[in-house]
Symmetry: none
């Protein structure tokens, strides 16, 4: 994950959040789950900082979006308690795994602060930067 | 959150608990979740100390009462595992977010040691200090 | 350590700090190192919160003032690295162990935010509440 | 600390590092030590991520540059072990406290990855954004 790519995604995410009238923070990690870029909009609940970090971390560590992770890491899923590994993960949407066109994992983006649906929409919009 | 306001709330909470014949500890944090004031009555279970701190922390970090937080961070809620973020949060009542009349978050109060219902009642009574 | 005693010490410490024109936070723990009361004055550096807690904790866990603890838990002392036990302790003044007249440990008080000398003076003034 | 101010500082820091031919990561926190913005250049040692975060955290929590903090939290200083509080702090340069012209703490910036001297120079250059 290049910093220039992460910065482009971050700017897109913030612009999209502003357009939607919501406040979020955004975290982008590389393929090894290490932070590359982060930003928090004014007015975002402080608890969202750790949440967006964990969403990105969840997505890259298990190579799946955090919304999909939620289906297996849930009391009713087949890997209940998986969410308690790796320092605590997030079993709900807003974390997207980022891959190259050939399927190689590049990293992940996590968005938190708005509704889960809006967080996902913002993350998806930002992820488009990588392929366009 | 001024110390004088926190002290007034603390005294009200302790007086109310004494009137009700229960033992509690009370934690008050500022808008950034940093501790302002704390007190523990004799006889309060020691485990309640961390609980009241986390109730206050939960309320301010997500700008909602911990009883409302419980609805979304529950296995059947739409943000299951949210309680595992930010060092561990509390998904039950007794933490109230405190706001000014214009809606600005001032901080939060957490009460623990009695039944959840009593904890909530004591926290609400204390929170009245801010508006009276 | 009764809450009424802790509250009296806390009020004395805050009044003394105000008289001296400094900002501090104050932590009082019982004989088992569990928090009894805490308060933070406006303007106290946020880092002092953990410091005053650790000063009180250090004093009660080793039944000596944190200034005396500093003499042994120092690279040049005979118990170097002792300060890294128990979740991290403080090897400088401002934490006082509190004893009854027969020498039984009642708890400890920790003060932080001003100079170490002022922190110690404030803690000593507060500790007088117990014997007067 | 506004996100726009933090972003301006971040961009200045990255441009300065590029001009100097070094790789760094940069962390900016608000007055309550909560993250506002972060970026890591390609090639920066991964260990520097936590270092730049702790430099910024140290500076804001004790309202002094981390290079000054080093003087008191050193085994020969008067507050040895202070660096072990607040989850671990950094006793060397590269963290600058940021204040308004009237002395109010706005937050802090931490830079890590190059030599300590270069980290400090980059942080200082970035901090100029706030006053220009």
């Amino acid at each position: 994950m290049k910093l220039s790519s992460a910065t482009a995604m971050l700017e897109t995410a913030l612009a999209e959040a502003q357009r939607m009238g919501v406040q979020v923070c955004v975290s982008i990690v590389d393929a090894a789950a290490w932070p590359v870029a982060f930003a928090r909009m004014e007015g975002t609940p402080l608890g969202s900082i750790d949440v967006c970090n964990k969403k990105a971390r969840t997505a890259v560590l298990f190579q799946m979006d955090s919304a999909d992770f939620a289906k297996i890491a849930h009391p009713d899923g087949h890997a209940y308690s998986l969410e308690n590994t790796n320092g605590g993960l997030t079993s709900f949407g807003g974390g997207l795994v980022l891959k190259t066109t050939d399927g190689t994992v590049m990293g992940a983006i996590g968005v938190s602060g708005a509704s889960t649906e809006d967080d996902i929409a913002i993350a998806r919009k930002a992820a488009l930067c990588l392929t366009s």
